[in-house]
């Protein structure tokens, strides 16, 4: 995006200069006439034998198609990252097979533990796959006046309990945020 920005900025600035300063205009006319000659030569030199078109057009078309394909592929992979798997381990025990714990376990357990708290106006838990390994993102919406460090400490102890149950420590990100629900809800009174 920065490269396109630089190009657009330079082109725009150049057009402004062209319109205002006549010296720039005469320089551009002489330079671009030569450049256009050069481009025409290139097109002439790369002709198909016996045909008026040149294969440079085909190369241009292919490059443009490639560029379009890359852009579309990049746009299509935005917004991914959610996953359903929390822990996957093959336990080398007596019974053959591996154990998979779905992300829903952590999400439901944490949401249930956070549901009855009077100092939260909302809580969301989601599992993401970062670098191939699963991680939890907990989004808390505390009411007005709640001290964030105390809330974070309590949720951290909840996460430790979850890690003890699941068996593998999962990286957790806690985001204590504010939204319309926190601004227009009742304030937390006693703490």
């Amino acid at each position: 995006m920065g490269i396109l920005g630089i190009k657009l900025f330079v082109v725009g600035l150049f057009l402004v200069l062209l319109a205002t300063v006549p010296a720039v205009a005469s320089w551009w006319q002489s330079w671009s006439a030569d450049a256009w000659q050069g481009v025409n030569q290139a097109f002439n030199n790369t002709r198909f034998p016996g045909r008026p078109e040149s294969w440079l057009w085909i190369v241009l078309v292919l490059v443009t198609l490639l560029l379009i394909g890359l852009m579309v592929a990049w746009v299509a992979q935005q917004g991914k990252g959610r996953t359903n798997l929390l822990v996957s381990d093959d336990d080398a025990g007596d019974v053959a097979g591996d154990v998979r714990i779905g992300g829903g376990v952590a999400e439901q357990a944490l949401k249930h533990a956070l549901a009855e708290r009077p100092d939260l106006a909302g809580a969301t838990v989601a599992t993401y796959a970062v670098n191939g390994s699963p991680a939890l993102k907990i989004r808390l919406l505390p009411r007005q006046g709640v001290a964030p460090h105390l809330l974070a400490a309590e949720v951290a102890s909840l996460v430790e309990a979850l890690n003890a149950v699941v068996g593998k420590p999962t990286p957790v990100l806690i985001h204590i945020g504010a939204g319309a629900r926190t601004r227009f809800g009742r304030a937390e009174r006693v703490r």
Partner: protein, 197 residues
């Protein structure tokens, strides 16, 4: 499969993602490329051009300042420069969001990474300041920015407010939070009081 880097996750949470603007740029590039392809294809099969033929467009660009009114050219150039500047700055400037990181955590994942919105910090500190100054919530306003916290208190008329007590209470709470980067605190007592709170 290794654990993600904690610093990188915190960076992604405290800075704005450029996904929206970058998607816009990608769509713009696709539209321009598709238009160029359309014109070339139309030219190749010999049909009349849709908007303008590539040959004539190139010739007009070559003869540039003469074929178009200078005002229009200047305006077009200015608009392009603005758009280019917007994209450039979007790509280069850091784009920090109004958030702080709660410290006291190690560099590994044994403790969770915590990111707090400035609004939550402000309301917690406002509550502390209100209790220390003994006023109602409407008389305290806290503004939290990246490196500075300003506490504005409007005292009840006739009842003095102990500025040092407010400052100490807010700084104590801030110390407990252990924010990164550490902001400085300033307390402003307004000279105009609130009547009869």
């Amino acid at each position: 499969m290794s654990q993600p880097d904690k610093q990188r996750i915190l960076y992604r949470e405290t800075h704005s993602s450029r996904a929206v603007v970058a998607t816009l740029v990608a769509v713009l590039v696709v539209v321009l490329c598709a238009y160029g392809l359309l014109e070339s294809a139309v030219h190749a099969i010999g049909q009349p051009a849709w908007l303008i033929e590539p040959q004539r467009a190139a010739e007009r660009i070559v003869a540039l300042p003469s074929g178009i009114s200078p005002l229009l050219l200047g305006a077009l150039g200015a608009v392009l420069a603005m758009i280019g500047l917007f994209f450039l700055l979007n790509a280069v400037l850091p784009g920090r969001r109004a958030r702080h990181v709660l410290n006291g955590q190690g560099a590994d994942w044994s403790s969770p990474a915590v990111v707090v919105d400035d609004e939550v910090i402000a309301s917690a500190l406002a509550r502390r300041a209100r209790l220390a100054a003994n006023v109602t919530p409407e008389q305290v306003m806290v503004v939290v920015s990246r490196r500075q916290i300003v506490v504005n208190v409007r005292p009840t008329s006739g009842v003095p407010v102990d500025e040092a007590a407010v400052l100490e209470a807010v700084q104590f709470e801030l110390g407990e939070m252990a924010l990164v980067p550490v902001p400085e605190v300033r307390v402003n007592l307004s000279s105009a009081g609130v009547i009869g709170a």
